[in-house]
């Protein structure tokens, strides 16, 4: 008896649903015709939506344009990264986010055909000033790369390298202290304290990446740039690095490029979305991942185009 009741109901419910959907599809297809392609939308962008600027900016970028020879890779980017804040740079491959990140400590200087125009200021100082020495700059603005790249030296020497060449410490005891505190901050100390003299390359991938982070923070940088620091790591190592980012953000300013949207959502305070070299949107991370302002941001984080 009960079965027959349900059967007699279900088609009615289906019919109601079909009726409603019919109306929807019609209007939807009209809207689709008017839709422009993501490329068209991106190329017409002249201004970033959201809040690209911030109070107490550690790094302030204005009208940044980057060219590789004739090809322009970054277009008129204006962005502030506030002190002790984590900013995530996201966007599809080739959108200019890594290029942009590498401008922040002049890593692009190593590429001959790369030209950077506009102004990038660290605490109000122009980092592209021709008189500026890039070595101390890179001590203030450190970088962690996609693949862990420890030096072929001992764990100890990997971390001690920076403080030594920058002449930050002289006494062995001081150096020991810097190495220990850096390894502790990077969450690696407990795992390596008994084998500091063994080669850094003998560590696991996740440990090597944390070693590279320890090496970066050993020179007490003010800003840490991370270019997909977890792309080669397993979820456990990734979780440890993310935990570390949260801790580091209390003392450092961090910009992180990531292809994992979930990672950006987890670790960052603000998120910047790049598309075809344009900075499309910058907003509080919670806003970007629940209710972004720009349709391209929405399309990207919800996996709507390739």
């Amino acid at each position: 008896m009960q079965d027959t009741v349900i059967e007699s109901k279900a088609p009615t419910a289906k019919a109601v649903q079909a009726e409603r959907t019919k109306k929807t599809t019609k209007t939807e297809s009209n809207a689709m015709n008017a839709k422009r392609s993501p490329t068209e939308i991106a190329e017409s962008i002249t201004e970033t939506v959201g809040k690209p600027l911030a109070q107490n900016a550690k790094l302030a970028m204005r009208d940044v344009n980057v060219y590789y020879d004739q090809k322009q890779a970054v277009f008129d980017v204006n962005l502030d990264i506030a002190e002790n804040q984590v900013v995530a740079l996201i966007g599809p491959s080739g959108c200019g986010k890594s290029t942009f990140l590498r401008c922040l400590n002049r890593m692009n200087d190593t590429i001959d055909i790369c030209r950077v125009a506009g102004s990038i200021q660290l605490d109000g100082m122009d980092i592209y000033d021709s008189k500026l020495d890039v070595v101390p700059l890179r001590a203030r603005v450190g970088m962690v790369f996609q693949k862990p790249n420890p030096f072929p030296k001992s764990i100890y020497d990997n971390v001690a390298y920076g403080p030594r060449i920058h002449g930050l410490v002289n006494r062995r005891a001081d150096l020991d202290e810097v190495v220990e505190s850096s390894l502790r901050k990077a969450g690696l100390w407990e795992e390596v304290k008994d084998r500091l003299e063994s080669p850094g390359t003998g560590l696991s991938g996740g440990q090597q990446q944390r070693l590279c982070i320890a090496r970066t923070i050993a020179v007490s940088p003010e800003v840490i740039l991370m270019d997909e620091p977890c792309s080669a790591l397993d979820p456990i190592a990734t979780a440890k690095i993310e935990e570390l980012i949260a801790e580091l953000s209390q003392n450092f300013t961090i910009a992180i490029v990531t292809h994992s949207m979930q990672q950006a959502a987890r670790v960052s305070h603000r998120t910047a979305y790049f598309h075809l070299g344009r900075l499309v949107e910058v907003n509080e991370t919670e806003k970007v991942f629940t209710n972004p302002d720009h349709e391209l941001t929405e399309a990207y984080i919800t996996g709507r185009f390739g």
Binding site: V5, T24, E28, V288, T290, E298
Partner: protein, 241 residues
């Protein structure tokens, strides 16, 4: 009408998953609509058999609620949806619950229909006018709230919020009217109380329709408009333009 492009993901399976959530919620909505209509008709036409049918179908609604929640959980676990997709999944879980509660209220109305019939059928029509009037308005609200969801239509959603306010007012005056009846004729108290319970359920169904409409506004604009007056909602929407 807004467009959420739920059929535009790179992963076609994801499109299908979200489309299923939507379909299943609308199917459940259709079923609940019919439950409410049947329950009200069971009182109006003193039809105990129809009321029994409502009671039996209630199980089917409960079953669908559980199944749809399970589907939402799986989408969250598998896809970690963001932005409008996330809002859609959250909205579906909430609207699912509202629909199930509407089903419960329809169930209560059906019980009242049976109680009224057992007490002697439609001998006294007192309260029937109010019941019919509020019953019609509430059914229209439920229908509209589901339409608003099916078309992601904020304007219709706002109409529902306004309509629910009107139902609340009608409910208030029906209460005063029926209280007068009971004072005039204490023998009618049992009967009228049954009508009052049914009206109370209808009023609650209206509230749930309003909830669904508010979820639709959240889905489309990402604005949480719960516990907000119609005027404030409209002001917030205008601010967005």
């Amino acid at each position: 009408m807004e467009n959420l492009h739920i059929d535009q993901h790179i992963s076609r399976q994801f499109n299908t998953d979200l489309e299923h959530l939507r379909e299943h919620l609308l199917e459940m909505g259709g079923l609940v609509e019919e439950q409410v209509a049947d329950a009200v008709r069971a009182i109006e036409s003193a039809d105990s058999e129809l009321a029994e049918k409502v009671l039996r179908t209630e199980d089917e609604i409960d079953r669908r609620e559980v199944a749809l929640d399970e589907e939402c959980t799986l989408v969250l676990a598998r896809r970690q949806p963001a932005a409008s997709d996330l809002r859609l999944v959250l909205m579906v879980t909430k609207a699912n619950r509202d629909l199930e509660r509407m089903g419960d209220e329809a169930d209560k109305i059906a019980h009242m229909a049976i109680a009224l019939n057992d007490a002697g059928g439609a001998t006294s029509p007192r309260g029937f006018v109010e019941l019919r009037h509020i019953g019609n308005s509430v059914q229209a609200l439920v229908h509209q709230s589901l339409d608003a969801f099916a078309r992601f239509d904020v304007q219709t959603a706002i109409e529902v919020v306004k309509g629910d306010k009107q139902v609340d007012r009608d409910y208030g005056s029906a209460m005063r009217e029926l209280a007068t009846y009971m004072m005039e004729d204490p023998r009618s108290i049992t009967r009228v109380m049954n009508i009052i319970w049914a009206l109370r359920s209808l009023e609650r169904i209206g509230d749930h329709a309003r909830n669904i409409a508010e979820h639709v506004i959240y889905l489309v604009h990402g604005m949480d408009v719960r516990h907000t007056s119609v005027g404030e909602i409209e002001a917030q929407l205008e601010e967005r333009e």
